[in-house]
Subunit: 500 residues, 2 copies
């Protein structure tokens, strides 16, 4: 499904759209999610929470988005969270130097390249300004992407909007480890917004200045990186791995990947497997996924081992999760800067140590965008074309539409009664009584609602309703009273529609 | 329950705590919510969404937190969203001038008071610096509370963190009205964070610099402010109203309040009633609530009629919801500044008009704080004291604890099976197998979990479990297989524990 079709649908149905769009010249890279988009976005976070956070026994926090300068001094962001930029001397437009070169050469420009090397490449490849075609640029300089906010009446307390949600996790770890009756390995998760002053926001939700993250930091004893009790659950599960030596991904089970030292330890393989399973639950086909190993000049300097979880789309491979073995970099940095002892002791061990961290840092809006673009389908049915979104029930904006066939003869009231009953059991219902049934089906199909219940004359006689499935468009007759449990089972894939 | 007890519990169980607390000198007014606090906070938003947003057929959006300068020029924030401040000449501490006077005189200082009048009162009442007791202050000046963020490499796009979530609602209204098949009255809701550079953050969650809001803006045709089809549902519902003439609140039903012109219109009375019902569902007793009418010098200049929904706590009356009849102030302002026509037409009407707006602007963290402080109870039981949190099931962090009596003889596995079953039906479960059953009960009681299921030897024989209620500590024997529906009914108050 071409990206344009998704963007058109997004605008037509207000799934997402630019912030402050009524104002000409509003800065790009800020997005609003309309009612249906907001619901899908929330469901994505809920599924991640259920599958990757709660099922693993991890803790979740909700932290401040503004944090003091000291935090980012310790994290290294103040010193090194910067993009190389150049300005066109003719039209004054600012560009990312590495992107200009990458676009001109169709190649990858390593993050570690110096400003001098970049300047040389710009000259060498005869790079033009994309805006005015000028070839005269200023020097390449580093531009810090942090957004500064001054707190206090005299701005005496310099703070920053977080560029990633995980710093709160590192800051809160010592307290949570002490107060929450937990042991290592301990995962702490947070979902929320992060902020980066991107020079060139683009591809709608894929590179924004304010964007959603779902991050998990797993704290563990580095000596026990191969002690993973539940590893047996994933040892035969196949990951799509693309190492530095590979040209394309190949499927390999976790056990083999660890034994062959393609993945350095069981703990890392275990969480890569859980991540792949979770993103598969978002409806992303396994064959479109890969974990791409990052080379030293591509990965963050503090990371001992990095895998980017990427999904193939018509825009190329899109990174959805950064998986980094961050070692003790973060806690050691905060310990030094805050002058606090952040070492912990494990039960039965004498020695205190700073835990190591393995991270799964995922993008919410990127996941949303990729999941929608892979789910959007058009299908010829005779002379007509049908558009529908093949979203898994758990991330659909509503689980079920409830439609009275007509507003008369008690059908409206009966349908409302069913709606209320389903809502009281925590199910998400979209009620619609306007237009023909066919049009109502088409409207919910387009935004991915997997099931629809129609209340008709038979309902008034025998208490049964029509239950329709979005993908097959098949219909079954079921008892209204059985809907709550039946729909929960359909949502959780405990029963298939064809087996009803 | 004294505030100190709640704060102690919050720190001991990590419900909430200061952001970046490992760093000395981190700015105040920024908070983190730990695992249990985050869950309660999320449940509060969910309940508001179900009861006030979805039940009313309103739309919800998720908008950008950073918006361009033009938005806040139009909204009036740049010109007037300011607090009066003074600096002590001796110790350089900055204070809010109106607060210094209010504390000294035990009175209320109107928001409309000029800086000159405030300076005069400071002199007149011989106000001292709370920090150093100095009496020599700088001039009173207005300090804008907006937090500025520069976007773009050369900071060429001045933006601000939103000081309230509702501006996105006004900006998105024209698009949603066009694309969402809706009619007036149309409510649009948003929950999320807002940011105000408060000079004196205090009372923990009650006045923070980054804080959560749940806002609803109802757009309507001002000619139809008394056409409210569902008014009959609330006409006999009693509101606790305290008008400008009253010294204390008095209960009056919606019908009477409108007929006596105490509330100016049915639409306003209707939503005040819905708000009171929703906050009652948070567990706040009706007798501790009031809607206090604001005088002209206390309410925002754009508001035609303002009621503050307040709750009585040991810290005094705390405002939880600002209810404002904002007229067409916001849409007219954005229409002028953006040069867009934001008028709408209603079906069957010729004339285009700018809708009026009635707003329910609620604080998430304030609601959380007040709900917890009213719910926290201690009870003498013989020689022992028991602490428990009487939270309604719908905002409890978990609905149910699941405890195997022992880890042996299959009880652990059986309990895990029950946990998984309940989770698959969308219920929130806390699993605990550590320590005595009594201690496990005490731990969940303290954070408000309303029910607990214990798996014991009888479970292994006949499939029944013990179901215990937090408040009464009574226990019933129920079939494990019936738990999912039973717990949903208990959560939604469709059945009472004593009637099982």
């Amino acid at each position: 499904m071409p990206k344009e079709d998704l963007v058109n649908l997004a605008l037509r149905r207000s799934l997402f759209y630019s912030a402050a769009e009524i104002y000409a010249g509003s800065p790009s890279g800020f997005w609003e999610f309309g009612p249906v988009g907001e619901k899908i976005r929330r469901k994505i976070i809920d599924l991640w929470r259920k599958e990757l956070v709660e099922r693993e026994g991890f803790l979740e926090i909700f932290g401040a988005q503004i944090l003091p300068e000291a935090v980012f001094k310790a994290s290294g962001h103040l010193a090194s969270f910067a993009d190389p930029i150049v300005q066109c001397k003719k039209c004054n437009a600012t560009h990312r130097a590495d992107q200009l070169i990458a676009e001109k050469t169709n190649g990858i420009v390593p993050e570690s390249m110096s400003t001098e090397e970049l300047a040389k490449l710009i000259k060498q490849h005869d790079v033009q300004c994309p805006k005015c075609k000028g070839k005269d640029f200023t020097e390449v300089r580093k531009f810090n992407m942090m957004m500064k906010v001054d707190i206090g009446a005299t701005g005496q307390q310099p703070c920053y909007l977080r560029p990633e949600t995980c710093q709160s996790i590192f800051l809160d770890f010592p307290r949570l480890f002490k107060t929450m009756r937990v042991q290592l390995p301990l995962g702490i998760a947070q979902s929320g917004s992060s902020f980066r002053n991107e020079i060139a926001p683009r591809n709608t939700l894929l590179r924004a200045r304010e964007f959603g993250q779902m991050e998990i930091e797993v704290f563990f004893n580095p000596k026990k990186i191969n002690e993973v009790p539940r590893f047996s659950e994933v040892e035969n599960y196949k990951l799509n791995l693309q190492t530095l030596k590979d040209k394309s991904p190949r499927a390999m089970n976790c056990k083999e990947a660890v034994e062959k030292k393609i993945i350095s330890a069981k703990l890392i393989a275990y969480y890569l497997a859980r991540a792949q399973q979770c993103w598969h639950a978002f409806g992303i086909p396994i064959e479109k996924m890969r974990f791409r190993q990052l080379a030293d000049d591509e990965k963050a300097f503090y990371s001992r081992e990095s895998w980017d979880f990427e999904v193939e789309t018509e825009l190329g491979w899109v990174e959805l999760i950064a998986c980094n073995y961050r070692t003790d970099y973060d806690l050691a940095g905060h310990a030094k800067e805050s002058k606090q002892d952040l070492k912990v002791k494990e039960e039965g061990c004498e020695e205190a140590f700073i835990p190591h961290v393995f991270e799964l840092s995922a993008g919410i809006d990127r996941t949303l965008f990729v999941a929608l673009s892979l789910a959007l389908k058009t299908e010829k049915r005779g002379p007509e074309e049908r558009t529908f979104m093949e979203l898994p029930p758990r991330i659909a904006p509503y689980l079920v539409g409830v439609f009275p066939l007509m507003k008369k003869d008690g059908m409206l009231e009966k349908a409302q009664e069913i709606e209320e009953e389903l809502v009281s059991y925590g199910l998400d219902v979209f009620f619609d009584e306007v237009g023909s049934i066919g049009k109502r089906y088409a409207r919910v199909d387009e935004v991915g609602v997997p099931f629809a219940v129609t209340v008709d004359y038979d309902t008034m006689k025998d208490g049964t309703v029509t239950l329709r499935e979005r993908d097959s468009m098949e219909q079954k007759r079921v008892k209204a009273a059985e809907l709550p449990l039946l729909l929960w089972k359909l949502q959780n894939n405990k029963i298939k529609f064809k087996d009803i």
